[in-house]
């Protein structure tokens, strides 16, 4: 796993209180990991702080899964 993926996974596990092995590439924050819509906003805020990047709202909407988050941040 890349460094980015490991850091993203840590945030997701801590924030949503889910088991690490549930956070798979295609795992949807809302459908699979029990996030509500506000959790997804908070996750994006946490990613912004962890990686020192800005994720605009329209991009944030496209981040639905763990894999989406990792690939977005790796490109940012």
């Amino acid at each position: 796993m890349s460094d980015v993926a490991a850091r993203v996974k840590k945030i997701v596990v801590e924030h949503l209180g889910v088991d690490e092995d549930k956070v798979t590439e295609g795992a949807s924050f809302i459908d699979d990991l029990g996030a509500d819509s506000l959790d997804t906003v908070e996750l994006v805020m946490a990613f912004e702080e962890e990686f020192g990047i800005e994720i605009p709202d329209d991009a944030a909407e496209t981040i639905q899964t763990f894999g989406d988050a990792v690939s977005f941040i790796e490109k940012a």
Binding site: L38, E42, M45
Partner: protein, 245 residues
Amino acid sequence: MFDLTGKSALITGASGGIGAEIARVLHGAGATVGLSGTRTDPLEALAGELGDRAHVLPCNLSDMEAVAELPKQAIEAMGSVDILVNNAGITRDNLFMRMSDDEWQSVLDVNLTATMKLCKGVMRGMMKARWGRIVNISSIVGATGNPGQANYAASKAGMVAMSKSLAYEVASRGITVNAVAPGFIATAMTDKLTDDQKSNIMGQIPAGRMGDAHEIAAAVLYLASTEAGYVTGATLHINGGMAML
């Protein structure tokens, strides 16, 4: 009860009668206060009166770039914004048929849009802290309407509905959003009324008097307190019985 020690509060319109009293009361309960307003002199005077834990943060709320900067300046000055009191408001009264687009828009901009932007600007910190208090100062006319104030009444009703919607969204994060709707409160704004206007108003107030700014500030203190953590999406009407809602 109602100890705000360690909390930071940003108050807009702190140069006005009600806003200054809100700042005094929150400060008196131990909060660090950020005093915002367009006129720097009264803000400096108030900060001087309060002494420690008071920061002057001038801002023209009709300038949306300045509005976006205000939460950042407040956080820089105070470390956080735990309590936001959107008290600033303007009037541009006119009969509806004569009301210009500019009269409409400028009131909506300052009273409603700036409130929305400030709520948004402090929300990140409140969400992370899992604690926050927003108190939006609406008005009795937001519930009853008032001839000559279609713009002001619309903006004040808008604040209530916005508060309720936001209250829903952030309740699970320990953040409450409430409104206070004053009736006629004795301030510089009401001093300008003629005696005829005043006696006409008095006749409509069961309590038979205007309210005091302190009576509004006391409600804000309650809603800002930890003790009011289960109160959210509410509108507290403080109007001497003028409208029992």
